[in-house]
């Protein structure tokens, strides 16, 4: 293990720092929806776990699964190894279940959904009507340049799923796309077979917590040989105050199938911190391919570090089949604290894992993120491209593990970690762990740290490009490789989001 700590030197002019300052000021999704909510009592206990299970009308096996997780969790300690400095979370002072009252009975169609909820999603630019539409986490006015495309959406509001679009069209192909609470009831065999097989209940503190109290999330099953004809997406919205969101996503791509899945998240601006602890499990069987893209834009807190989401997420893919492939792409712009390592277990021979990440931390944001590539099968390949951008007083850490087991002959890894610093009060850290136990396998690691320098800025200015546009241009250039890994329509949105996150007034 080696650690690199670098800080920017003086030199960048004050105006750049000013123009780059507040993420909080320009957070466009900070509104709250005033709606009648039903809460479970505050705090966490066996009773609460039972209540959540009952609310979801779950079978006994599911309840028992949760209870076992809960029993384990109470004996566990919050991890203290990340490079994160935050006030401890009071697990007894928050709600674990919050549901709009109008969703007491799940609406059969969108016409039955409460208008305030529909308005919320309209305001966020998320299409809940089955139109040809672009999903994104950026408001719809930005969408006019792009060609509309079908995107199926599962919308999760606080603890429950509001609705899922294009279900019927997908069903014709045998594709299952629904909330996980529905899947537990309708497809118990599939859920039982796969849940917890990628991220076990005992995996880590936050995953175990999630296993006990997850309330909803998305479920996807792509049958053998089917190429999913549209992007699937889940849009997570935290609205209620003092409420944690614990969603669980399970995606199974059967043999020779393909799916591209998008995930977006936002939350209102609040003074208090809120916890988000999700689990995502992906299973790729023989020759299956999953592309999972995230645009994480939770409320980051204000420019003084007040409020913001604590984002502790466990995401893992199991490339179980030979020649299977999983590609994670993440644009992490939000949250006060991010702790997240989307990983691949490359179990099948010749399976492939890829991780493309842009993590932006501004003001007092802290990000400790990266990936794990576990090479078990022969001829497995992985590629990691991580771009960390720090501004303000933020701390940004890349933490990654590449592990090649003795049996993983002829495997390859390539890792590239680049950090960009804006201003001189932020920090970038790179913590790569590389373990190669097979002589025929190779790993490569490249890391750079740079800052936007005055010469680059002046060159742009001298050509007539104003300072804000120049910063956006340079940053997007820095992230280009990752932005290109996103589905095309989404990449344009993400590019704009990157600019907005760092510039206050651009966009």
């Amino acid at each position: 293990m080696s650690e690199l700590k670098l800080e920017a030197k003086d030199g960048i002019d004050q105006e750049t720092i000013n123009s780059v300052k507040s993420l909080g000021e320009s957070y466009k999704y900070g509104f709250t929806t005033d709606i009648d909510m039903e809460y479970a009592p505050k705090g966490l206990s066996e009773e609460i776990v039972k209540l959540i299970s009952k609310k979801n009308d779950e079978p006994d096996w599911m309840l028992n699964w949760r209870l076992e997780a809960y029993k384990r969790w109470v004996k566990m300690d919050e991890p203290n190894w990340p490079m994160l400095n935050y006030k401890g979370i009071d697990y007894d002072d928050q709600y674990y279940y919050a549901k709009p009252k109008s969703l007491e009975k799940k609406p059969k169609s969108l016409d039955e959904v409460e208008p305030a909820l529909l308005e919320t999603y309209a305001k966020l630019g998320i299409p809940l009507k089955e139109q040809e539409f672009l999903a994104g986490v950026i408001s719809p006015e930005n969408n006019k340049d792009t060609k509309p495309k079908k995107v199926a959406v599962d919308a999760v509001f606080d603890s429950v799923s509001v609705g899922t679009t294009f279900k019927d069209e997908l069903e014709k192909l045998g594709i299952i796309f629904c909330s996980i609470s529905e899947a537990i009831k309708l497809y118990p065999d599939l859920v039982k077979k796969y849940i917890g097989t990628v991220v076990p209940r005992s995996d880590n503190y936050f995953a175990t917590l999630n296993s006990a109290v997850f309330s909803d999330g998305s479920f996807v099953y792509i049958p053998e040989g089917v190429k999913c004809p549209m992007e699937l997406s889940t849009y997570f919205r935290i609205n209620a105050e003092n409420t944690g969101q614990f969603e669980r996503t399970l995606i199974i791509a059967d043999k020779k199938s393909y799916v591209s899945y998008l995930e977006g998240c936002t939350a209102p601006m609040r003074d208090t911190h809120q916890l988000h602890a999700a689990v995502v499990e992906l299973v790729a069987l023989d020759e299956a391919s999953i592309k999972y893209s995230t645009v994480q834009n939770w409320y980051p807190g204000d420019e003084n570090g007040k409020g913001g989401i604590y984002n502790f997420v466990t995401k893992r893919a199991d490339c179980r089949g030979a020649n299977s492939k999983v590609m994670w792409t993440q644009i992490e712009t939000g949250s006060a604290v991010t702790w997240k390592y989307p990983s691949c277990i490359l179990r099948g021979d010749n399976s492939q894992g890829e991780f493309y990440s842009v993590a932006i931390a501004n003001n007092y944001q802290q990000a400790d993120t990266g990936t794990k590539m576990i090479h078990l099968g022969k001829g497995t390949r992985s590629r990691i491209v991580s771009k960390g951008i720090s501004a303000g007083k933020a701390q940004n850490t890349y933490r990654g593990l590449v592990n090649i087991h003795p049996k993983a002959a002829n495997s390859r890894n390539f890792t590239q970690c680049d950090s960009l610093l804006i201003g001189n009060k932020c920090g970038a850290h790179t913590v790569p762990y590389i373990e190669n136990k097979n002589n025929s396998s190779r790993t490569e690691h490249e890391a750079t740290t740079s800052k936007i320098d005055d010469d680059q800025l002046f060159y742009c200015l001298q050509r007539g490009i104003n300072e804000e546009d120049a910063v956006a241009l340079i940053i997007n250039g820095f992230c280009k490789e990752v932005l290109q890994a996103l589905p095309m329509e989404f990449a344009l949105e993400a590019q704009k989001l990157v600019a907005i996150s760092l510039e206050g007034s651009v966009g």
């Binding site: 001298q462 300072e467 546009d469 340079i474 997007n476 280009k480």
Partner: protein, 248 residues
């Protein structure tokens, strides 16, 4: 008309006075060359004129058509028609050359109240100019100046100049690092841009470049001042006898 009036400049970082009272009047259509030994303040002059941060004007003025541009930001000066061809063009990874030039052109058009060019319109104009300057499309698709040879970088500067159509062009040691063929090519580009309403300030160490780009005036700069002004023959004199006899 471009006019420099009794200009005195300090470099803030080192608190050192570099320019000690320069007066220069450049009429539309004129080509002026500034020659001088190392450390005479030539590059400082080009950065000061284009508005780079860190060059503090102690005294004097810079005027474009009778109006001071001292309060204008570098991007505003650029949009008003001041172009600097850099001695060392800057590399910006991940930013396509083509999209950079288009962004620059459209930013300037926007500033001047003109419609932005759509990609098709832009490409048409770009192709014409690129052909003439022997810049191939492959070079336009690469990231800005990244991995460009010395000659490619300078040709790319002249291409930007051709597209942005400035009124006042500063060439800062454009000949440095160029072989004879590359210098001819760059000069051909510059000559094609000479016109009645465009003027040039060419900063160079050597007379060689002035064989290809014929100046109307040659100024010798030393210790932050213009110490002698003449016609093209002054450049030949420097080539022949060096700077020393002029300095004494």
């Amino acid at each position: 008309m471009f006019e420099i009036k009794d200009l005195h400049v300090n470099i803030s970082e080192v608190e050192k006075k570099i320019i000690n009272g320069i007066n220069l009047k450049i009429n539309p259509g004129e080509v002026h060359a500034i020659m001088g030994p190392n450390g005479s303040g030539k590059s400082t002059l080009s950065y000061t004129l284009s508005g780079k941060e860190g060059y503090e004007i102690e005294k004097g003025d810079i005027e474009l058509d009778g109006e001071s541009i001292l309060d204008d930001e570098p991007d505003e000066r650029a949009a008003k028609g001041i172009f600097l061809a850099f001695q060392y063009p800057i590399e910006i990874p991940g930013v396509g050359n083509l999209s950079f030039i288009r962004t620059a052109l459209n930013s300037q058009r926007k500033f001047n109240g003109k419609d932005e060019l759509n990609p098709a319109e832009f490409l048409k104009i770009l192709r014409e100019k690129a052909d003439y300057l022997n810049v191939d499309m492959e070079m336009l698709k690469r990231p800005l100046n990244v991995g460009f040879s010395g000659g490619e970088k300078k040709r790319n500067e002249i291409l930007q100049m051709a597209l942005l159509e400035p009124r006042f062009c500063i060439l800062d040691e454009t000949d440095s690092g160029l072989d004879v063929d590359a210098m001819k090519q760059v000069s051909k580009g510059v000559n094609s841009l000479r016109s009645e309403d465009r003027s040039f300030l060419i900063i160079t160490h050597y007379q060689r470049l002035l064989d290809y780009i014929k100046p109307d005036f040659v100024h010798i700069m030393a210790k932050g001042k213009i110490i002698k002004t003449g016609g093209p023959e002054l450049a030949l004199e420097v080539e022949d006898q060096g700077y020393t006899h002029l300095l004494n």
